[in-house]
Each structure stands twice: as structure tokens, then as C-alpha cells.
Amino acid sequence: MEPCEFPHIEEQLGPILGRHGGDATRLLQILREVQDCFHFIPPEAVSCLASHLNLSRAEVEGVAGFYSFLSLTPRGEYRVLFSDNITDNMLGKAELMQYFCNKLWVEPGKVSEDNLVSVDSTSCTGMCDQGPAALVNGWPLTSLDNNRLDLVAELIRIRKPVAEWPEMLFEVRDNIRRPGMLLGEAFEPGAGIRATLARGAEATLKEVDASNLRGRGGAGFKTASKWSFCHAAIAEEEGSMICDVGGHPERFIVCNADEGEPGTFKDRVLLSSHADLVFEGMTVGARVVGARKGFLYLRGEYRYLLKPLEAVLERRRAAGLLGENILGEAGFVFDIEIHLGAGAYICGEESALIESLEGKRGRPRNRPPFPVTRGYLGRPTVVDNVETFACAARIAEKGGAWFAAMGTAQSTGTKILSISGDCARPGIYEYPFGVTVEEILRDCGTEDAHAVQVSGPSGTLVSWQEFGRRIAFEDLPTAGAFMVFHRQREMFAAAHNFAHFFAHESCGFCTPCRVGTQLQKRIMDKIAGGHGTPADLEELKQLGHILGTMSHCGLGHTAANPVLDTLKKFPGTFERKLKALSFEPAFDLDGALATARSITGRDDEWAHLL
């Protein structure tokens, strides 16, 4: 046996396990707390959790190894993760991170020798309108510059607990620039539920149907259809219906607040300033489909919202808007629990999200069956985006016709955009569907916009020639991201950044995505390093085809979009980087000597092969 470094692990984990009632579906929540406590998941903790939760050790290790914010090897007491979105990079992320590392004498990706600090990159943290951003032990730092980083470094050096750091470091602004019916009009908590109870669940479903509301999370599925499928579904086990404590078929309502698509931060603002609208929409949905329990799956990057959101839930319980007999309606029971993610974009995919809610690795399920028939714990489950629920609350209150009067025929209502990149006024803009890219660019203050990445890397790259296009399901569908690039930007850099993003976030379940995103990243690195040839461009197209057709889920299906779009719309940005040759080996002889150079401390002419 190896020496045990944590002989008292049982006692140390006792309180955490107690808080979560030894429930295996809480494994991810438990692991988050263990990580906070020890700055990693010690092997002894893996064994201890496995035995208490009645799981195999391999299962616990499997979960702990899946999420970026958990670590099976020690991390610094202070773990600083710089947001690596292209917008952060355009604001100087790479230089800032290097500056910070130099200050603290630590190498990116490594732990300092005194175990005090580790510094690394992380996928977009959703602060693109106030970047460059970072997380320190999971708490967001915004608008970073050298001065703020000097202060952060100092606080770390004197080992001040993060809870005692000056608040201004953690200030997150809403930056609502253009409010509409969701963000601008006052909402009285309970109004949507009251109207639902007055007209009845079935009639409310008809209103949602008449509103023609479509999902705001990207896919644009008609919300009323999803709700009615779920309402019609009944889970069975060995021939008998699975019931909740009220004797009704058990169903769940899940709000998808994973918001992992780089450049998207509108759900953050809805949750920080309009949480009532979101919870109200979930409650209306619960009434319509017949669910007693709901979950909000909140991305780990937004843990700072957990306490305020729990306070809103508490207030709603006190006001009779959650819990037993809601608004006095006998038998109307519904409550909401918040689960935190831990750094995994794939957990925004609805079936991976459900796996994660069950405390497992975030691996997308095989479909069919779809979540509406077999979701959380195999029960019928509605998964909807934060903004979708906010719209549903308004529709319940004001009716379907009112909603359908806004927007276009196929895209009713408004859409909240999160705008970042090269513009004077980054932030949150709510527009009726049908608005053109041009109008938006004018509103957010751009001078020489050249391209916009609509709906993030998995969406569409729109070039200046297409600025007349409209935000709508029938033209440019979007989950909300709107990243602006001006004329001086090298579009290759954006595609390169996005290729890294997908390779980092692939869950690894299916071959085409696990290997294909890696191959794509490596070819983009080769081109960035000046070793690319025309043959590599062909290879990228071929990979794009394999990813797009053979992958298991939407992540793989869209992982080549930014590369393919950039190749098509800005071919020059690639061609300028290519060697004239038609073939260049990917193996970099000189690069292979880098380790030897760093060991011997040499960097002279003879230590290079050129």
C-alpha cells in the first residue's frame, strides 16, 4: 500500500456527505465541494465517496475526471483560470496571463512549487462584455488589466481568503443596452401563475401554442409541442406507472442555464436581474405538463449567482409561488432545486445535462428515446432554455396573440442578444425577431465591422457582404451570441481559437468528434505556425464533412462550422498563412527538440534544427 496522505478522509468528508444525504445523483455537487476543500479530488476521497454512495471507484473517478473544474491531481490553493474566448484574446488575454504568471513565478498549466497557485486557461466564462475575465477558485474576475492583476497577485501572496478580497474585483455588470418586453417591462411575481390557474393548464398550453414560441437555446423546437409530448408521456417500470408522491405520473421540468456557447451571456443577465420571470416560467410549465419538481442547471462559471438565486427561491416559497398548494390551489405542488455544473460545454446538450443532473459524466445519450419521454431518472422531462421560460411566463400572463404580434411569422417574440467584440457598447440587446445584422451593428457602435460570429462558434460566421441578413429562425437562427470583428482582425485567429475550444470540449464518447476535433486543432496549429499547405485546407474540408455527418451529437456536428465558414467567406486569411508547397510534414523536427532545450537550458544556434 502507498502511504495514505489523507488518513482522516472519512471525518473530513462526513459533513459534505451528510449535507447531500448520501445520494449518488448529488455526486457532482459533492465533488465540487471536495475540490473546494482540498484543491483536488484526493484518491482517498474517491474511495470514500464510492463506498458511501454505493458506486464503484471507477465511476467516481470517471465523473471527477470529466469536468474541467475538478482535478484528480493537486491544483494551487488559488486556482486562476483565464477565460480563453476569442473576445478575451482580442482584449489582450494572452499577454495578461503571461504577465500574471511572471509576477507569481508560475508556468501556465503548472502548480507553483509552494502549491500556492496554479494558472491556466478555461473556455469562455460568459463575461465577454467586460473581459478580459478570469475565475479565481470559481469566482469571476472581470475587466482585468495589469493593475487589477497586481492586486490579485498580492492578495494571493499574502494568502488572503478569496471571500475577503475587495468586492470591486468581482463586480459583474448587466450592461442592458436595449431592453424589450422581457428585460424592460415590469413583471409582478405570480402574475403568470395566477393567469394560468384562472384559465387552466390546457388553455395555457393553447396560449403557448398560439404564441408560436420556439426554444431560445439554439435548436428552435416549438415549446408547446415539447410540453404536450411530455404531458402525454408516462414512464413505466415493469409494466406499472412510475408515480410521484401525489400519485401522479412523475415528470420533471429542467431549466438549461449551462450557457456554455462562447460569446453568450444573456442567461446570466436574465438570472441576475429577472430570475422571477424564469422561475415563474418553470412553474407555469410544471402546471402544464404536471411536474412537481424542477431543476435549474447552472453552469459552474456562474456559481456566484447561486446564493442570490436561492434567495429568490426562498422569497417565492414565502410568497406561496413555490412549494405546496401554490397560490392556494390545492394539489399544485412544485419546487425548484439548483444544480451546479463544473466546466463542461457538452452539459448544455439536453441529454448530457440530464446525465450530469444524475451525477454522472456529461455524455449525450442515444436518441430515441428523447428526454420528453425518458429524461431525468428515465421520467418524462422538459428541458428548456432560461430565456424560453422567461418568454413562457410573459405568454402565460399576457396571452399567445400578444406575443405572436412581435417578430416575424416563423419567429415570434423577441430575442436577447449578447454582443461583444469590436464595438463601442458591448452588452445585452433585446430585439423583435427579424432585425438585420446591420441595424444591430449600428446600435452597438461599430465603425468598420468586417464579420460577425452569430450564435457562437457552433453558429454562423456572417461576412460584411451579408449584413442585410436577419436574426430569425428562417434566416440566422441564434442562441444569442453576437461577436463583432473589425477589418484589422485576422479571421484565421478566430477560427483557430474555436478549433481549440471544440477539441477541449469534446466529451470523447464518439470517434469522429473525439479524434476529429483533435485533428482539426492540430492542422490549424500547423497552419498558424506557418507550416500549412493547400493540402491541409482540403484535409480540413474532409474532416468537416466527417464531423458534420458522423458525430453523435450537436457538438461534433457543428465543430467544423467556424473553420468551414472562414474557409468559404475569408479564404485569404488562410492563404496568407500557407507555404507555397503542396505538402509539408506535420512533424516539426525543431519543435521536437524543445524539451531537450529546456532541460539543458540551451537556446543557441546549434540547439536548433532549421
Binding site: S56, G65, N366, S506, F509, T511, G516, H545
Partner: protein
């Protein structure tokens, strides 16, 4: 009246609840596959079994057959795509077939032959991966693991032991063993477990059996995997 689907023009029957793969296997039609083994719950990860059902790419091993489905299986385009998948599996691991005990009995190798794979095409990743020789009777060589999770399923669903699992994410995904040391020798694994018999590649090898069947007389040495499979023999396992 039994329901039918059509695969490459052949109409074949299926029963309610069967997948496209089940129906094809029953009709002795070969759809290339690696992570599927009819004894275990379908998994759907390797994507080699991708077919076009009514024009849409789906995994045959997980997609339920539906009345009147028109399926393309043996087409040049699909075989090109499947070859790319096999090439990806080769380059992400370390497969040195000439030195591998599984050569000739290996489904990965056999499927590569069957798809006319002449080269790995992509650049090798040469990942550093762990070999575990701690078990008295079995080698675990992760260099050859294709993450199909057949051993995971067999150990969990048949042996009732949960010896294996996956950890990591993306390209960092790796097979882990259920023991405090992480070593196979310290787990409850036994050579008689079903999980010791299901690996399609040479990642799980039984010790002291090396070359008991000589190269040249092995399952896929004389017949391609498509033929072995449609003749009703489950291939690639230790005899």
C-alpha cells in the same frame, strides 16, 4: 404481417424493438461495427455502423428499425467515411500490428482490411498510455484500447463486478480500473470473467496463451470479417 426495412435494396423483416443492426444481423447482412456486440446493451460510440436511413446518417446499432425505412449501407461514400473513422482509431492509439498478439484475431485490424484501408492517412498522435501487467492472468495494454466500453458493459452487466470504467474527457478519455491503486491486479477481475473475452482489439490479452493459434490460422487470416460475421461466427475473441 411482419414489418420490413430495406437495406441496399433488400427487403428484410424486423420485429418491434429491434435496431437496424439487429435486423441486419438476423438477415446476415454485414454492417461494419466495433463497439457493438449483440450480447450487450447497444452503445453507439464508435460510429462505424453509420448508415443512411431515409437519407439521414444514423448509428445502426442504436437506431430502432422503423416500418418501411430505406437504408443505405454498402455505398462508396459510407465506406469512405467509415475508413476515416478506422484511421482515426488507429492514429489516436498506438497500434503496432506486426508485434501484437491479437493480430489476425483483431476486429479493428480486420475491419481496416475489409474497408481497404491502405494507410493511417492522418498523423499519428503517439499518446503515452499505460500498460498494466499487474494481474496474474491478464494484460491490459491501453495503447490498443479504442474506448468501446465492451469490457465496461460486460463486467457491469454480466459479471456484476464493475471492474472497468472511463475517466477523462475528449481525447484524454481513458480506461480506468476499479481498485484503489488503479491496477488490474488489485481489482476483483478474474480471467474467467466475461469481460476478459470481449475486447475487440489487443487491449485485454490473456497471459500464457500467446500464439497458441499461429499467425496464419487465425479468424480473419483467411476470411474477411464481413464474411466471418455473416456466417454466424462471433469473431475476434479468444477461443
Amino acid at each position: 404481417m411482419s414489418k420490413t426495412i430495406t437495406i441496399d435494396g433488400n427487403e428484410i423483416p424486423f420485429a418491434e424493438g429491434q435496431t437496424i443492426m439487429d435486423a441486419a444481423m438476423a438477415a446476415k447482412i454485414y454492417i461494419p461495427h466495433l463497439c457493438h456486440n449483440p450480447e450487450f446493451k447497444p452503445h453507439g460510440s464508435c460510429k462505424l455502423c453509420t448508415v443512411r436511413a431515409n437519407g439521414r446518417a444514423v448509428s445502426a446499432c442504436t437506431m430502432p428499425a422503423g416500418e418501411g425505412m430505406v437504408i443505405e449501407n454498402k455505398t462508396g461514400e459510407l465506406d469512405d467515411e467509415r475508413r476515416a473513422i478506422v484511421q482515426m482509431l488507429f492514429v489516436e492509439g498506438n497500434h503496432l500490428c506486426p508485434t501484437c498478439e491479437k493480430s489476425g484475431n483483431c476486429q479493428l485490424q480486420a475491419v481496416a482490411y475489409c474497408l481497404d484501408m491502405m494507410s493511417p492517412h492522418y498523423n499519428h498522435f503517439y499518446p503515452p498510455r499505460e500498460v498494466d501487467a499487474s494481474h496474474p492472468d491478464v494484460f491490459l495494454d491501453r495503447n490498443r484500447c479504442i474506448l468501446c466500453e465492451l469490457c465496461v458493459r460486460a463486467s457491469r452487466d454480466v459479471d456484476g463486478k464493475n471492474v472497468f470504467g472511463l475517466s477523462g474527457r475528449g481525447i484524454g478519455s481513458r480506461l480506468v480500473v476499479n481498485s484503489a491503486s488503479g491496477r488490474l491486479g488489485d481489482s476483483t477481475f478474474a480471467v474467467t470473467d466475461r469481460a476478459a473475452q470481449v475486447c475487440p482489439t489487443g487491449a485485454i490479452l490473456i497471459k500464457r496463451q500467446g500464439f497458441s493459434v499461429p499467425i496464419g490460422s487465425r479468424i480473419y487470416d483467411h476470411k474477411p470479417i464481413c464474411q466471418v460475421e455473416t456466417e454466424g461466427k462471433s469473431g475476434g475473441e479468444h477461443e
